[in-house]
Amino acid sequence: MRFTHLFILLYIFIFLGCKQEKSHLVKIEGKQIPITDSLQSNAEIEAFIKPYKDHVTKDLDSVLAYSAHTYSKTDGDFNTAIGNFMADAVYDEANPIFKTRTGKDIDMVLLNYGGIRSILPKGNITTKTAFELMPFENSIVVVALKGRQVDSLVSYLCKSKSAHPISKLKLSIDKNFKLLNATVKGQAIDTAKTYYVATNDYLYNGGDHMTFFKPNDSLYNLNYKIRNILIDYFKKADTINPVIDDRFVQIK
């Protein structure tokens, strides 16, 4: 018994001795190891991923509609078929929701040229197409803007020389990019009127230097992702065949 106690005591002393001996940092070595195809894949991890991958792939590959041609945002100067399709899809899908919630109609849609992230290729349109067109999670917001601010929006578009997607807004400019005519749903812009402009939350927060959304009368967040708008639009459509039209033109 006495020996046992002695050993316990010794263990305690060893333990304390180790604890008391403070370690000190002598050397640090840092590097970065690239993950490349020269590394073997862990089979267990791959097998774990597989059912998830199969489901996602199957779903992404499901056909929603058909694209009549290949559409690119670089085909067109001030409006493009693909941009017109996107802005019109936002109007068609978001307006019923906005109307149910507020009793009002969206007056116009403005998206950004940079927000079209891929082409729309000819042939079957799948869920994957929607992810490629819109990989980001941005949602649609509707901003109540006074006519005067809609004028700033219009002058931004005149100066931008870029085919930002628009819907229900019609613009014409001269050879010096000066505004000739601007209408919203066929009516001249009334500086005193409040317009309900649908855009995405990125632009609303000043993205692409679109500073004209603030201040505003009110903001309605539809919590409706643009990608889901595209998916819902594709599901309803049989063939997608948008055209370049006269919504934004330069008259030389």
Partner: protein, 303 residues
């Protein structure tokens, strides 16, 4: 106290000698110990490797490959910690379909020890992050997000202590300002606190109270912001003391090698970040020697 310490240490030494013949000869007091810290950041749901057509990222990344690399490093040195500096979520359809479940499950299989929270980890709202917590067998650390009025309350710790082979390691987390970056509907009542002030508080606890041998900051603040008041890792490193390593994220910064920074006491420390999408794994080895072998040379840093 000092005298008592001395007696205990002497006794222990004597005990080691005395009972050495009883099978405890492996106990030595002056062995060098090596702690390996492995880290990722901004993996953004990149589960599979990039394909051969993926430009500059072609054939890089992939969780299954990262798993074998980590396994081989752990086999070489079991005294390893695996950490992530946030933005685990968002970037591939895996997130859109499963909300982060697969990311957390895989990180658990890879035996991650801890992660901090990035701005994109709020992309399905704070409720979306909370919903995935059951899939994570690792800790979430954030010292400067006050979650007390949110569902994440009690699920995030400011810091965690790891005792590896007798080396006490303190890891604390820091997140970026959410206002203007994340929709308030997503982060709800999460409060952002000043990362420099919080770091001073954390290092006070970890160094003075907990007597840590190694202090690591897991940061999603971003590497550096030139001509800006914004606090990045370089600014944080230079304005604080007692942090040995800041593992960064957010800015997707690919560094040719870890950055050596002088802290507020003019001591060298490291800031590292390994780009994004699981293309690289950071590996920092810390070598410790017993105090009685201490030389005047200080710590050498090899990068």
């Amino acid at each position: 106290m000092k005298r008592r310490d001395f007696i205990q240490q002497t006794t222990a030494g004597a005990a080691a000698v005395t009972i050495g013949s009883l099978g405890l000869s492996s106990f030595t007091t002056s062995k060098t110990k090596k702690i390996t810290i492995l880290h990722t950041n901004d993996v953004h749901s990149h589960i599979e490797p990039f394909g051969p057509e993926d430009g500059r990222n072609a054939n890089k990344g992939g969780v299954a490959r990262r798993a074998s690399l980590i396994e081989s490093i752990r086999n070489e040195n079991p005294d390893t910690l695996l950490l992530d500096a946030g933005d685990i979520f968002q970037g591939t359809p895996y997130f859109n379909y499963y909300g982060g479940e697969l990311e957390f499950k895989l990180m658990s299989m890879l035996k991650y020890d801890a992660a901090t929270i990035g701005n994109h980890d709020f992309d399905n709202g704070i409720d979306g992050l909370y919903a995935q917590l059951p899939h994570a067998k690792f800790s979430f650390l954030s010292a400067n997000y006050d979650f007390s009025n949110t569902v994440m309350d009690t699920h995030v710790k400011p810091y965690q202590l790891f005792n590896i082979n007798g080396i006490k390691i303190g890891v604390f987390g820091l997140g970026i300002e959410l206002e203007g970056l994340v929709d308030p509907l997503n982060f709800k009542e999460t409060k952002y606190l000043n990362p420099i002030e919080i770091s001073e508080e954390m290092t006070g606890i970890l160094k003075e109270q907990e007597q840590c041998d190694l202090i690591i900051c897991l940061s999603h603040l971003g590497y550096n912001y030139r001509n800006s008041e914004k606090i990045g890792d370089l600014k944080l490193a230079a304005s604080t003391k007692n942090i040995d390593l800041i593992i960064g994220g957010h800015t997707h910064t690919f560094l040719p090698k870890p950055t050596i920074v002088k802290n507020s006491e003019n001591k060298n420390m490291l800031v590292n970040q390994v780009g994004c999408y699981g293309i690289n794994l950071g590996k920092i080895d810390f070598y410790f020697d017993s105090e009685n072998n201490k030389t005047a040379d200080g710590t050498s840093i090899i990068v």
